[in-house]
């Protein structure tokens, strides 16, 4: 009989974790897209051999502890201010690969000004924007990207257009700015989506190398806890409801 021990062998290995993810247990809920997004970014940093040149900025939100999982030098920014902090880093270390990793509340609500102006100044950085349409860490409140009709703890009857306005498509807004080189919207819920996202991440870091200004990657993701769904159901819901409003694909560059 074949035992597990027979299977767990070096020659049977099809996947291993990048050494740039620490061994710390993720603080993310099982089924959440953050872990995959973290892995993809760190894989690219490892594959490009740029760990000594990479400095990341963690936001306020679920990924506030991104610095515990990503094994690169990192700073933690005040809520929404990551693009300003990244500007401060990139300006004094112009040769470094500087990135921010931000959620929708951080980037598209409180940090809108910092996002727009860092993009407008063509800072030589990468902005990763994880959009799950909700404030996850604080317990599932309405975000700027919450869909019309979507129920959250602060839109318990569903997002009401007349009182709460429209969801903001900040990625399309950012694409209008001359300082932005590359804008794309991706996802990480299927192997194919992961492969596409990884390609986009690589392109973004290549742009930094070539000093091309801002690369902006939105990753539409799920929040199974905040959406109160199973992980599988949340991914289906995301495809059916989020993707029509936030369609995947390259927007610029």
């Amino acid at each position: 009989m074949v035992t597990i021990e027979d299977i767990i062998k070096e020659e049977n290995k099809v996947f291993s974790k990048t050494k740039l993810l620490t061994d710390k247990t993720f603080s993310y809920c099982p089924g959440c897209g953050h872990g995959v997004a973290h892995r993809i970014i760190m894989e690219v940093v490892e594959e490009m051999g740029i760990v000594e040149q990479t400095i990341g900025v963690a936001p306020v939100g679920c990924s506030v502890l991104a610095y515990d999982f990503m094994d690169v030098d990192m700073q933690q920014a005040a809520h929404g201010r990551a693009p300003a902090v990244a500007t401060g880093i990139s300006r004094v270390f112009p040769d470094k690969y500087v990135f921010t990793y931000q959620g929708d509340g951080d980037l598209a609500a409180i940090g809108t000004a910092e996002t727009i102006h860092a993009c407008s100044r063509a800072e030589n950085i990468v902005i990763f924007f994880i959009n799950n349409g909700i404030y996850g860490m604080t317990g599932g409140q309405m975000a700027p990207t919450t869909l019309i009709g979507m129920k959250t703890s602060t839109s318990p009857h569903g997002r009401d257009l007349y009182n709460m306005g429209f969801p903001i498509k900040i990625t399309e807004m950012v694409a209008q700015l001359d300082g932005v080189q590359y804008v794309t919207r991706q996802a990480v819920h299927t192997p194919a989506a992961v492969r596409k996202t990884k390609k986009a991440v690589k392109k973004a870091f290549e742009n930094v190398k070539n000093r091309k200004g801002v690369s902006f990657i939105e990753i539409v993701s799920n929040c199974n806890s905040g959406w109160k769904m199973t992980p599988v159901k949340s991914n289906e819901w995301m495809e059916e409801n989020m993707f029509p409003v936030y369609p995947l694909g390259d927007i610029k560059g």
Binding site: T54, Y67, D71, Q75, Q76, R81, A84, T87, G88, I89
Partner: protein, 386 residues
């Protein structure tokens, strides 16, 4: 002697930044300190010294850019005036919490709200009692001349890196706008990246080399126990700063019976008031705090042994006077005189306020003496009756 130049206070700050090897300045226009950003953009130091100068989209962005640069171990600074400094408070709290060295300049104007564009000293509480959230202290330097505005840039960076703590230069619209002679120092080259890594490699983000763990700059702890520990560490550091970095000046205090306590522009005005008072035979002096944190509580307490009363003069409704009272601890009368909302008191008004205080104190002393004499006489009469 170094090169002499006639300069505005704000220009002196900008020139000092270039000459002392500052790596980055991030600013946003606001009166009465916009000359700092204007001077720096005109001088354009980047091709010469490598110093970055950037106009941010807001005061908030500017202080967060400072956070990013100083967390890389670089000498970074920002400047603003009162309403803008209010906006920076969140960032200042993060910088204090993450223990980053940074220099922040406040060229104070009248408040509250949008207030005025004229000089004031009404941001004392904000500067020394917190301003932002949490238990933290800034090292606060209070210049009273254009020369000191110049000198305190280099001093500010020195202290900021010595203690890994934000330093605030608390100036005001008068010193920022007035012109005085400044003795310039020689150019000090910026540190190279290798020197920066050598100096700050244990904590700053430079990109993780093979030989060390990744450096993380954060002010967050999800658990209260380590956060309390971190606060203990901060408090110990502030105590050390109090023990080592007190700076103050005494002027004509040797024989003074009545003493002003004033910093910044007010201290200059008090000096003139002292001169006018001495011409009238009044024995006046001044204790001028140069650091507002640490505060010269001990020298004031010591002076209270022989001084009859203190007059705290500040262009505010009375903020610093609370610290003078704490230092004196009820031993002597302490009063406040101030003009505010952008008004500057004249030396003769200040002298008048002091004369009123003197009259009050002397009247009280006279009454006390009379009462004592009366009691004595009564006692004597009683004794004689017996």
């Amino acid at each position: 002697m170094g090169e002499l130049r006639l300069m505005k206070g704000n220009e002196a700050i900008a020139e000092a930044a270039i000459r002392c090897g500052c790596d980055a300045y991030f600013g946003y226009p606001i009166t009465p300190q916009s000359e700092i950003l204007e001077y720096l953009t005109l001088e354009n130091p980047e091709p010469k010294t490598g110093m970055v100068v950037l106009q941010a989209e807001s005061e908030i962005a500017a202080i967060n850019m400072v956070y990013g640069s100083s967390a890389c171990g670089k000498k970074a600074m920002t400047s603003s005036s009162s309403p803008g400094i209010s906006l920076k408070q969140e960032g200042i709290s993060y910088i204090a919490g993450a223990e980053l060295p940074a220099l922040i300049v406040n060229v104070v104007r009248g408040g509250p709200g949008l207030g005025t564009i004229q000089p004031s000293q009404s941001d004392y509480f904000q500067s020394v009692k917190g301003g932002g959230h949490g238990d933290y202290k800034l090292i606060v330097l209070a210049p009273n001349s254009v020369q000191e505005q110049y000198d305190f840039v280099a001093l500010g960076f020195e202290l900021a890196f010595k203690y890994r703590n934000p330093v605030l230069m608390l100036s005001d619209g008068a010193i920022g706008q007035m012109m005085e002679k400044v003795e310039l120092t020689d150019y000090i080259p910026r540190l190279t990246n290798e020197e920066v890594i050598k100096r700050t490699g244990s904590w700053a983000t430079h990109g993780k080399p093979e030989y060390r763990k990744h450096n993380i700059v954060t002010s967050l702890n999800l658990q209260p126990e380590p956060q309390e520990q971190h606060n203990h560490h901060l408090q110990a550091k502030y105590k050390e700063i109090e023990e080592n970095e007190l700076r103050y000046e005494k002027f004509q205090c040797e024989d003074a019976e009545y003493v002003f306590v004033a910093y910044g522009t007010s201290s200059r005005l008090c000096q003139k008031a002292i001169q006018l008072g001495r011409e009238k035979g009044l024995k006046l002096g001044i204790i001028r705090p140069i650091t507002l944190f640490p505060y010269p509580s001990k020298p004031i307490k010591k002076a209270a042994k022989k001084v009859k009363a203190f007059l705290s003069v500040e262009m505010s409704a009375g903020q610093m006077v609370e610290d003078v009272r704490l230092a004196v601890n009820g031993k002597r009368p302490v009063e406040h005189y101030g003009r505010y909302g952008g008004m500057i008191p004249m030396p003769d008004e200040i002298l008048e306020a002091m004369e009123e205080l003197i009259a009050k104190v002397e009247k009280k002393a006279q009454k006390k003496a009379e009462k004592k004499a009366k009691k004595k006489a009564e006692k004597k009469a009683k004794k004689e009756q017996k």
